[in-house]
């Protein structure tokens, strides 16, 4: 998404600033500075995932409102999503979810690819769904039985 390059730019600037400040410190603090930089870098790497998680509701609304796919197609997709959720609930109930995880993930990937392919007339939504796929997957797994 658009947010990601902004974080990348911030990260690059932050690294430069830290590198400039480093020569004035002792050897031990150099290591500390390096660790801090590593932590900062890792924290920034995880940030876009949180942004995606927040955007899930928006993505859902955009999918409902898009003109790129029609009413019946949306209904068919909705049916497929409900079927997948039922499958997850069933496996969880039988304590088989961990064993069947690969199969469920394959179904999810197939369904997502189908939706992305259908959204050829709404490229931005298609791209955002692809970027947010891990958050969507996690939210699907969080659904209670």
């Amino acid at each position: 998404m658009l947010v990601m390059p902004l974080y990348a730019a911030d990260g690059a600037d932050g690294m430069k600033q830290d590198a400039v400040a480093a020569p004035a410190t002792t050897k031990l603090s150099k290591v500390q500075v390096r660790n801090t930089m590593k932590n900062k870098h890792m924290a920034k790497k995880t940030l876009p995932e949180h942004v995606d998680a927040v955007d899930l509701k928006v993505l859902e609304q955009r999918l409902k409102k898009t003109d790129a796919i029609g009413f019946f197609t949306k209904l068919a997709i909705r049916n497929d999503i409900i079927d997948l959720m039922d499958k997850i609930k069933k496996y969880r109930k039988n304590s088989k979810l961990k064993v069947k995880m690969k199969e469920v993930r394959a179904s999810f990937d197939g369904l997502l690819l189908k939706i992305i392919a259908l959204l050829e007339g709404d490229a931005s939504l298609s791209r955002d769904l692809y970027v947010g796929r891990e958050s969507i997957w996690e939210s699907l797994l969080e659904v209670k039985a």
Binding site: L2, D67, A68, G70, T73, L75, A76, N79, K114
Partner: protein
Amino acid sequence: MKRILIALILTVLMAPAAYAVTEAEDIATTIKLRGYDCGGRAVSDISETQDEQGNRTIQATCPNGVRYQITVSSSGRMQVQALN
């Protein structure tokens, strides 16, 4: 910052507007999504009925000549079947 703003504005302006599908294309896509062959992007000869319980029945003919029936229950469950 200025460059980022310009990039954002350009991205928004250059993004193509979402293409709206017609009902005929929508029905053809639905038939294909359920694994049936349609032979084209849009159906023709669409007829629609609705019963008292709110169940909808749509019939349409694909470019390959096969006529399909789509049944949508009041709860939103959908079924597709070939008629010939």
